[in-house]
């Protein structure tokens, strides 16, 4: 039986790990390669790097990080942040990424999703959706949560599936960094609308939140950063807890 995945996410800036609270106030906390290795040895089902390097001159640092990590970690590695073109995707894959997540560029130019999924296969194209509630709907934000595109997140998710995305990484902007749990309504609505796997993200503060994301949100995988990164829980503890709640995990 297919297991639900636990994916620790590492925010990387200028080649170093940071974790943002509501996308600002970054704290430096280590070497991404070592962190990724600790996670994969600890049973992480995948590793996710989100590159939040702002300046173009430092953008190459992520390629080095990916290249080093892929020589040490033998679980899937997803890399996102600042991906602008099919060429960027190609470069990350060549460095050893297994999947590339595309955010702003997918909103601005969905042809990149179409072209890259045709060229490299849907299996390595993840579309990341940052969504924020506005009335009774959710809107897609771009540029690390700074710009509101005004696009309806549910409709957008369906379009991305049709454009060739292999998975969706759905982050609630309202919940990110708050540790009060996923936006279950958002996650479950998108999950039931599409036929591709969904990774839930944004807001995890305890292990029950992971359980909710899978049971109520119907997510195939749950992504979390701070609860693992600051040592509140290990991936192993998370898996044991999920298993005790009847969720199938790889042990």
């Amino acid at each position: 039986m297919l297991k639900n995945r636990i994916i620790p996410c590492l925010d990387v800036k200028n080649g170093r790990v940071v974790k943002g609270i509501n996308f600002v106030d970054l704290k430096d906390a280590g070497d991404p390669v070592e962190q990724a290795k600790i996670y994969s040895d600890g049973g992480a089902d995948e590793i996710c790097f989100l590159d939040i390097t702002a300046s173009n001159e430092n953008r190459d640092t992520i390629y080095e990080v990916v290249e080093k990590t892929s020589k040490k970690c033998f679980v899937p590695l997803t890399v996102g942040g600042g991906v602008r073109s099919v060429d960027d995707i190609n470069k990350l894959l060549n460095c050893g990424a297994d999947k590339v997540s595309i955010n702003t560029t997918a909103v601005e130019n969905s042809k990149v999703v179409v072209d890259s999924s045709k060229k490299f296969g849907s299996q390595c194209i993840v579309v990341a959706i940052d969504a924020k509630k506005n009335g009774d709907k959710w809107e897609v934000f771009t540029h690390g949560g700074r710009n509101n595109s005004g696009i309806d997140a549910l409709e957008y998710a369906k379009i991305m599936e049709e454009s060739g995305a292999g998975e969706l990484l759905v982050t609630s902007m309202d919940r990110d960094g708050t540790q009060v749990g996923y936006d279950i309504e958002l996650i479950s609505k998108i999950s039931s609308k599409v036929n591709i796997p969904l990774i839930a993200s944004g807001g995890v503060g305890n292990l029950d939140h992971l359980v909710e994301g899978i049971k109520s949100g119907k997510a195939s995988a749950v992504l979390a950063a701070s609860i693992f990164h600051y040592g509140k829980y290990s991936v192993k503890e998370a898996k044991q807890y999920l298993e005790s709640k009847g969720i199938p995990v790889r042990t």
């Binding site: 297919l2 892929s70 033998f74 060229k119 195939s220």
Partner: protein
Amino acid sequence: MNVTIVDYKSGNISSVINSFKEVAQNKVKIEVTSEVSKIQSTDKVVLPGQGSFKSCVDALQSINGLVDCLNDFAINKKKPLLGICVGFQMFADVGYEEAETKGLCWIPGKVTKIDNQNGKYKLPHIGWNQINLVKESKIFRDIKDKSHMYFVHSYEFVPTDKNSISATTDYSSKHVCAVEKENIFGTQFHPEKSDKTGLKIINNFINL
């Protein structure tokens, strides 16, 4: 000994290269090439594959003499060959992804889309699933039944000759996820991304 990973420009093979190099250390030479002359003289071949069945077959055929060389290696010389993911699917007679496409015809059967049962099962089948070992296979030495492997695919290989099947996995139905036919080995899952268990399978292949 030389193990050659065939680089026929179909998708991303850096993970395959990294994992084989990790396992081989410096004891076995891992070569990455599309040069027919080098493949002819090697000891073992790894055939990866990403993207669609059709794009992989097209990419193989676009390299002059490569398909003939692989046929000679696997069928006439009967040297060990491991296909991974679409590299494994191409063993079939025919695939139906994008368009009906003739495969390598090494193991009779076809490659069809996994039945998602009207949306009950999400596709691609992505993540860790357990494998059911159904016969002894040299590459599964010391691998336990129900081991977890990493999968990512929407199409499945349905061989007509059930004797070649070495493992299955459960997703929508019981589908074939590994074959062994004499010197030909294939896995639908990605041993290069399946943590220590996957590296063990790679080690078994290298040490055949």
